[in-house]
Symmetry: C2
Subunit: 149 residues, 2 copies
DNA sequence: AATAAAAAAGATCGTTTTATCTTTTTTGTG
DNA sequence: CACAAAAAAGATAAAACGATCTTTTTTATT
């Protein structure tokens, strides 16, 4: 579905959304430990997210990564686009270039409604809204523990 | 979503479902041309499908690949399991090992209903049923033309 | 100013995925 | 039987992905 890189990135942003703000910055080391992700790889991803304005950072002692107000208005979809590219949920499930609503591939009717709805939800829901929901519903689970593949 | 290999495999099986039977066998060369897929790679995939009883074949002159009655009772899901493995639609969207209906991750409620539905449709619908539907609905489009990624 | 903490940048390495090429085996046909 | 057509099998190569390591830059603190 998503690449490992993208999963790490989303989890890191959610972690930052919950635990950081302008005055509480968090270093890669801490984030990687909390999420149980490979540290140098996560560092690279955070740089990519930072240079795309999805995450903020400051250097030097006491520095680290955090989400500012703007960052929190971004969506999961923005993260997916940044790491995996825009194509992820837009292309035909079988990879057929000619496939469309008018010209559907054999699995189009099965897959298409699903893709559209998920795409919308991921595009419309901001990170802050998402975290708010999680907190209201009390469904905050550990972002730790990862299955490769 | 799916690997290229898996997309090739599904397309090849659909192609065979439409164009082949016990008396009309088709060689890799022809299939690869029709689907515009890399020929040796597709050959390897067909071998994998054949050894897993999802496709039939005969060697020698006049030989080739085809679907017999049993093969047509298999599902898209069987193909996905054969090529990409069973985990594809079963794991948490964010890769979290602790995620479940009782213990949902932040995107679980968005993603889970669709995963379940797609999984069921892919598991329950046989290849022959699928092709039948396509023909009734008249939505037979070219399986040619592929977007990498 | 010196030091140390932290991110930024970039070079490198290994694995998996994708793809190709060559050889062997099977089998129908003249 | 000899030949050719086709799949089966396996070795190899290239690209993408996942991950690590080293060096540089920035900056707060002493």
């Amino acid at each position: 579905m998503l690449s490992n890189a993208c999963k790490y990135a989303i989890r890191a942003i959610l972690y930052l959304a919950i635990h950081s703000d302008e005055t509480t910055k968090i270093g890669v080391k801490k984030i990687a430990e909390e999420l149980e992700t490979p540290q140098p790889f996560l560092a690279k991803l955070l740089r990519q997210l930072t240079s795309n304005k999805l995450v903020s950072s400051t250097k030097g002692p006491g520095g680290g990564f955090f989400l500012d107000k703007n960052n929190k208005e971004k969506s999961i979809w923005d993260v997916i686009c940044c790491i995996d590219g825009t194509h992820k949920f837009e292309k035909c499930f079988l990879g057929l270039s000619k496939c469309s609503d008018k010209n559907p591939c054999p699995v189009h009717s099965t897959v298409s409604p699903f893709k559209k709805k998920i795409l919308n939800e991921f595009r419309d829901k901001t990170i802050s809204k998402l975290v708010e929901e999680i907190e209201v519903e009390g469904t905050v689970i550990s972002l730790k523990g990862f299955d490769l593949k």
